[in-house]
């Protein structure tokens, strides 16, 4: 009779062990996920394939720009968050198309697709070594997603075993400007 209990006990322990391992060991996506490269505003981060430096964050309610000879104005149900940054390929020509605004609550906002044709938009043109691009990432986020966010920059939206720059952005950013003209932004 006692051997039956011993067997049941062993089974229970094995089940608990397996459940614990499933719960608390990192998953496949985490093991093969992005390789983080942490930094702050104004710091140049050198990853595999590119270097990035974020300089400034601006908030705006409306953005104006000229695309394909037409004046375009964009407004939002939330707010536009602009990150002025510098990108450079290293050591070979490459594209960096995975810019994400990671809010303090954990939501991931991909750079807004509503600005096609806007001047100096980062992440669209290919980067070249020794020819840095200075430009802007534009995100559209709800107001509560502004404070304490992180800027993620990588070659793709879901980098696998590749660099992802994680730039901590300021905790408070003040009130958004009513209107910003992208053509008049100071990029330097």
């Amino acid at each position: 009779m006692s051997s039956v209990f011993a067997k049941l006990g062993a089974l229970l322990i094995a089940a608990l062990l397996l459940a614990g391992m499933q719960r608390f060991t990192p998953g496949y996506t985490e093991i093969t996920g992005p390789i983080p490269l942490k930094g702050d505003l104004g710091e140049t981060l050198a990853g595999r394939g590119f270097t990035v430096r974020a300089d400034k964050v601006l908030l705006a309610e409306t953005l104006r720009f000229k695309a394909y000879g037409r004046e375009v104005e964009r407004n939002s149900g939330g707010v536009f968050a602009l990150v002025i940054a510098r990108l450079e390929a290293q050591p070979t020509s490459t594209t960096v198309s995975g810019a994400i605004w990671l809010s303090a609550q954990g939501a991931r906002f991909v750079a807004s697709p509503r600005f096609q044709g806007a001047p100096r938009l980062l992440g669209t043109d290919r980067l070249e070594p020794s020819l840095p691009q200075r430009g802007v990432f534009i995100f559209e986020v709800p107001r509560e997603a502004v404070a304490g966010a992180t800027l993620l920059v990588a070659a793709s939206r879901w980098p696998r075993l590749d660099t992802q720059a994680e730039i901590a952005l300021p905790v408070t950013l003040g009130t958004p400007a009513p209107l910003i003209d992208l053509g008049e932004l100071a990029y330097e």
């Binding site: 051997s3 050591p91 070249e128 020794s130 020819l131």
Partner: protein, 187 residues
């Protein structure tokens, strides 16, 4: 529970199976890894072949020759526009037609610039290109030429003005990897 008698043959069989397990695992790993290793080998640029000036070299089913690399313009922001002309004589059309072509300019420190689409005004005002459309490397590969055809290939590059001197064209083709070509200039 009653005692179960196991025949000695079964015992031997079980022991054998237990020992065969690591061997089977190792074999499985090897068979799996073989494919990956082969893919890795065929996708890497491992062995550069230096091509002396004015000579042709064989790669990926064609004879490749560097015709000319020159600076055609300098932009106001300190960038040089370079134009690379090459010639390919097709030997093996099937091998030649494997896309894509990787033709880059390489600096001595390993930095590499990929070709760019140049605005027509920068290129087409050159007298010998007037009215001509010369294909890029990938376009030439995709055109599926017959054996013996001679193709003229041209690519444009934009790089920092200071790098225009020391860069070398590097050509790598899927059918040729892991070998690739690095072209030298006369003088």
């Amino acid at each position: 529970m009653s005692e179960v008698v196991i025949s000695p043959g079964a015992v031997r069989m079980r022991r054998l199976s237990l020992w065969a397990l690591p061997a089977a695992l190792a074999l499985g790993l090897f068979l799996h890894a073989q494919e990956n290793a082969w893919e890795w080998w065929r996708s890497r640029e491992l062995f550069a072949r230096e091509v002396p000036a004015n000579t042709a070299a064989n790669l990926g089913g064609a004879e490749w020759k560097l015709t000319r690399l020159r600076r055609v313009a300098e932009r106001s922001d300190g960038r040089a526009v370079m134009l690379l002309d090459m010639e390919a004589v097709v030997r093996d059309p099937d091998m030649f037609a494997v896309l894509p072509c990787r033709l880059v300019l390489e600096a001595p420190d390993g930095r590499r610039w990929s070709p760019q689409f140049l605005t027509p005004s920068e290129v087409n005002r050159l007298p010998e290109r007037r009215g001509l459309t010369i294909p890029t490397c990938t376009q030439a590969l995709a055109s599926k030429p017959a054996a013996g055809a001679t193709l003229r290939i041209s690519e444009g590059f934009v790089l920092p003005a200071g790098m225009a001197g020391p860069v070398r064209p590097v050509l790598s083709l899927p059918a040729g990897r892991p070998r690739y070509l690095r072209f030298q200039f006369p003088g």
